[in-house]
Amino acid sequence: MLKKGSIILVEPFLFLVLPVTLSINLTRFIFATLLQNLIFTLLNQTKLKMKQSFLFLLALLLVISFSACDPDDPEPVNEEELITTLNLTFTPTAGGDVVAFSFQDLDGDGTGAPVVSTGILQANTNYTTSVELLNELESPAEDITLEIAEEDLDHQFFYITNVSGLTFEYSDMDPQGNPIGLTTICNTGDAGTGTMTVILLHEPNKTAAGVSTGDLTNAEGETDIEVTFDVQIQ
């Protein structure tokens, strides 16, 4: 064991050095060797007044220990899951001009308003529609439609409209025979105006009543996309 005389030195040494050196080594804020040397030199020079000098030393240490520094620039986040754009194309089955609707929201939740473009549908016409989802923050733009097609069991589009005579009928199906809604057959009625909402649900209950005919009521699931277009039929 230690002699009595040596304990007087060892105690303050342990008291001071254990917590402090640990913090020195791990915080990487201070020039470890420099400070340690400083402490030991001071300790040696002031052997007799050691107890009194602890407070001062630690105070010194705490004050010196911060030279506040910036974090490194964060690594860029690859938002590959993001959907920025929805394109909805109406192709007349009997031939004629293709009508395009588009909703583009490049800043996601940000303050910028989305860019929406619409077209004019012909009255009493039969169209096939197809929907395309893009992440245009990627270059070249990433086609998210493929992801949806891959996970067709877990996704379904819904087309909700208040324009009388305008109907959508699913024309695709997943391996279990339930609709996906990437393509539909659309019929227009007489001329009129209103709105059309395109909704993409993730993990809907596809077998619930009415869901396979495009009724949202019992679908549950959570919304991945919900965009509303003004529609004009003439």
Binding site: E11, L18, P74, L106, G108, E226, V227
Partner: protein, 778 residues
């Protein structure tokens, strides 16, 4: 109390080992003693005293005395237990006739296990209440927030039952400080759905201070402080500890907690470990799918008495938990929320129970390493220093496309370094001073692998502070004062909107002042007055300054404000308390918190269209606010067996400029309980059943009806009342002791929703729950 001599101990070992025959000759030693109530000083009769080694029992007489005669020399463990007391364990190395003076901490000062600190030993003027280890073990199924909720004026803000944060006088998150073993708990404390990462079972004591009293620690506890302490290692040369088994019916959960400690020579150690697992919880009418949780927590503590003057302490803890979040509360946009609010049963509810924890879920790890030392200059003055490192890793998983569900949607990593040195001294004229310096460094990083823009940016934060705190006694009046000055530097790399997003650096510098002052006086036992006032600044947190984007959990877009200034609060508490021996005690506490530049999340009324649908926009704003209220606690023993407890808490808050109520304030609530304690121990063969108690608790929570319709997605839920039943008792086996606690929560399987539980938008709260805690002490 009593003393034993190290040298005697060694001699005894020798004698016992070498001349064991001699022992027989040395078998006429007596142990006698008397037993007092610690707080009232009364002599206690009918205390059961039990010697484990001999399986020998005795009962104290009317005058509080007891005696064991003709014992052999040797080492003995004595247990003192008394109706309504936490049993006391005493180790004795018997070499000669010994007189023991025992103080028992009597339940009379407890209100549902919550001790109102004995006024005479008080060293602060703020009001505090403490939950002891017995109560913590009885509540072993609960998390930290739920345990502190038994204190009046303390509630919890929750997301389901797995995630909860303590709320003191209506304040939570960064407005209160949580200390774990003397170190400020770091981590993502700003979020409502981020529980403090502390295993309450690792604590021997949880204390709540209802005032600005965390002068000696970084961070801003302007609303109050929760202190979880592992306690000192008992100076006992033998291995002791607890094995606790827990189970509950709701969630079909179970757990195991082990604690072991020993103090051999100059080194003491203590370890604790907790493992818990539960599956889907159940509301009265349906399962809450994906609400299981699991936890693996361990702590180790090592104390080395280098000499009489120097003590070194090492502490390490690791906390690892996975918590499932109700599947039906994961929503896409505002339409989904409106649909969810209108439906009786949450989406994705399934008829079957499962232990599986799928996305959405949280995986949180928190590790702490602390080295501390205490150097006694004299008996009442010492230097204390510590250095602590915390590592917090929070991963939140959402339901995502193309297998990305396995990739966390939020992955935050925080490292915190805390250093402190303090000096405490007491002068002859009753002046106690504590002064010190402390510092804290935080590195907060996002993992870019998430593929989602982070909701809060990467930052470094630095705090340095100096404080001085003192108490002085003038006759019957105790006065208290304290000042703390701190400087906080934040260096932030925020990601701003844009395509591609821009990185914008910010450098902030905040100065923070805290002042406290108080007076406390004890006129007589029945009437004590405490007055405490404190002023504190809190700098805006990084999430309040820079959060930007969709907060999936609440289906809203949250926008920070880079121009936010310090928030400050002047909190004043005035309390009256008193007691009449074991019969009656009460505490009435009123408080007023005047905030200037109170920071809050304001619904702007804007509904922002995005490709995912539309979302309401919330913005961090600040304005003056008042939050005030009343806590009342009382205890009344009709007779020594029949006891009534009562807790009442009211809180009100108002934003002064916009003249609207403050949101997320707890509902008014009452809690009453009646318990019956069996005076006599029951004996079956050689098994004693002691301290049996049966209790019924009634809780009434009023509707939070003051919130205006536009301040929330839906109006506040209705008032509700819950009953719970509890039975507990100690079993003295031949050598060891066991405690059994059986309880039923929500006895009537009441359907209810609580205003401060965010899950209320989607589902009912928990149904009936049977729970069992068996503690085996060795």
């Amino acid at each position: 109390m009593f003393k034993y001599n190290n040298k005697c101990l060694i001699i005894c070992f020798l004698l016992c080992g070498l001349f064991s025959e001699l022992k027989a000759n040395d078998c006429n030693i007596n142990i006698s003693g008397h037993i007092h109530d610690e707080s009232t000083g009364e002599l206690l009769d009918h205390v059961h005293i039990y010697i484990e080694e001999l399986a020998l029992g005795a009962v104290s007489e009317d005058d509080g005395n007891f005696i064991f005669e003709d014992l052999c020399a040797g080492e003995y463990h004595l247990i003192f237990s008394h109706i309504g007391c936490n049993p006391k364990y005493v180790y004795l190395n018997l070499v000669q006739d010994t007189f023991v003076h025992v103080l028992l901490d009597h339940h009379a000062s407890e209100l549902e296990g919550v001790v109102i600190k004995d006024k005479s030993g008080k060293e602060e003027t703020s009001n505090s209440q403490t939950i002891g280890s017995a109560q913590i073990l009885d509540e072993a199924n609960s998390n930290l927030a739920a345990i502190t909720e038994t204190i009046s004026g303390v509630s919890s803000i929750r997301n389901g039952s797995g995630i909860g944060k303590p709320v003191i006088h209506g304040l939570y998150g960064n407005r209160i400080a949580i200390l774990n073993n003397g170190v400020r708990q770091s981590g993502q404390q700003w979020g409502i759905d981020h529980s403090p990462e502390i295993d309450p079972l690792s604590a021997n004591e949880i204390k709540v201070i209802k005032g600005a009293a965390s002068l000696a620690h970084p961070g801003s506890g302007l609303g109050g402080v929760v202190i979880s302490s592992p306690g000192k290692i008992v100076r006992e040369p033998h291995l002791h500890g607890n094995v606790v088994m827990l189970g509950e019916s709701n969630g079909r959960g179970g757990g195991l907690h082990i604690q072991a400690n020993q103090y051999a020579g100059k080194v003491g150690w203590k370890i604790t470990g907790t493992i818990k697992k539960a599956g889907d919880l159940r509301s009265p009418n349906y399962f809450l799918n994906n609400t299981g949780h699991e936890a693996y927590n361990f702590t180790g503590q090592l104390e080395h008495s280098v000499s009489e003057k120097l003590k070194l302490n090492f502490y390490g803890s690791t906390y690892n938990t996975t918590i499932g979040i109700l599947r039906g509360s994961h929503i896409g946009n505002r339409s989904d929320l409106i649909a969810a609010l209108g439906s009786d049963v949450p989406n994705f509810t399934e008829p079957d129970f499962s232990y599986a924890i799928d996305a959405p879920k949280q995986k949180v790890q928190h590790h702490l390493l602390k080295v501390s030392s205490k150097y006694f200059i004299s008996d009442d003055s010492w230097l204390e220093a510590y250095s602590a490192f915390q590592l917090n890793d929070r991963k939140e998983f959402d339901i995502r496309r193309s297998g990305r569900t396995e990739i966390p949607a939020l992955d935050l990593n925080q490292q915190t370094w805390s250093n402190s040195i303090s000096f405490q001294t007491a002068t002859k004229n009753d002046l106690k001073i504590k002064t010190g310096l402390d510092s804290e460094v935080i590195f907060n990083r996002n993992d870019s692998e998430t593929g989602i823009l982070p909701i809060i940016p990467d930052y470094n934060a630095f705090e340095q502070a100096a404080f001085i705190h003192g108490t002085k006694r003038f006759g019957i009046v105790l006065s208290e004062f304290g000042i703390r000055y701190g400087n906080v530097i934040q260096r932030v790399k925020a990601i701003e909107d844009g395509s591609p997003p821009l990185i914008k650096p910010y450098a902030n510098n905040f100065n923070r002042f805290t002042f406290i002052g108080g007076l406390s006086t004890s006129i007589n036992d029945l009437f004590n007055i405490n007055f405490n006032t404190g002023y504190a600044n809190r700098n805006p947190n990084v999430n309040e300054l820079y959060s930007n984007g969709l907060h999936q959990g609440v289906s809203g877009i949250e926008e920070g404000d880079v121009d936010l200034q310090n928030e400050s609060a002047l909190k004043t508490t005035l309390s009256f308390s008193g007691r009449k021996k074991d019969r009656f005690s009460y505490e009435l506490l009123g408080y007023f918190q005047a905030f200037s530049d109170y920071i809050y999340l304001n619904p702007t009324g804007e509904i922002r269209p995005t490709i995912r649908g539309s979302f309401p926009v919330f913005k961090y704003e600040q304005e003056d606010a008042d939050i005030f209220g009343l806590d009342f606690t009382a205890f009344y023993a009709i007779n020594p067996s029949l006891i009534i407890n009562s807790n009442v808490a009211f809180v009100r808050g108002r934003l002064l400029d916009s003249d609207v109520p403050v949101i997320n304030l707890p509902s008014d609530n009452l809690r009453h309980s009646v318990s019956y304690r069996f005076g006599e121990a029951l004996n079956f063969n050689k098994v004693h059943f002691e301290n049996m108690e049966i209790g019924l608790t009634h809780r009434y929570v009023f509707r939070q009806g003051r919130i205006l319709e536009w301040q929330d997605f839906v109006i506040a839920p209705d008032a509700y009342q819950l009953y719970s039943l509890e039975f507990s008792g100690d079993l003295q086996l031949r050598k060891n002791r066991m405690r059994i606690k059986f309880g039923v929560d929500n006895l009537l399987d009441t359907v209810y929703r609580d205003y401060l539980n965010r899950q209320r938008y989607f589902a009912d709260d928990l149904g009936r729950n049977f729970n069992l805690v068996v503690t085996y002490k060795f």
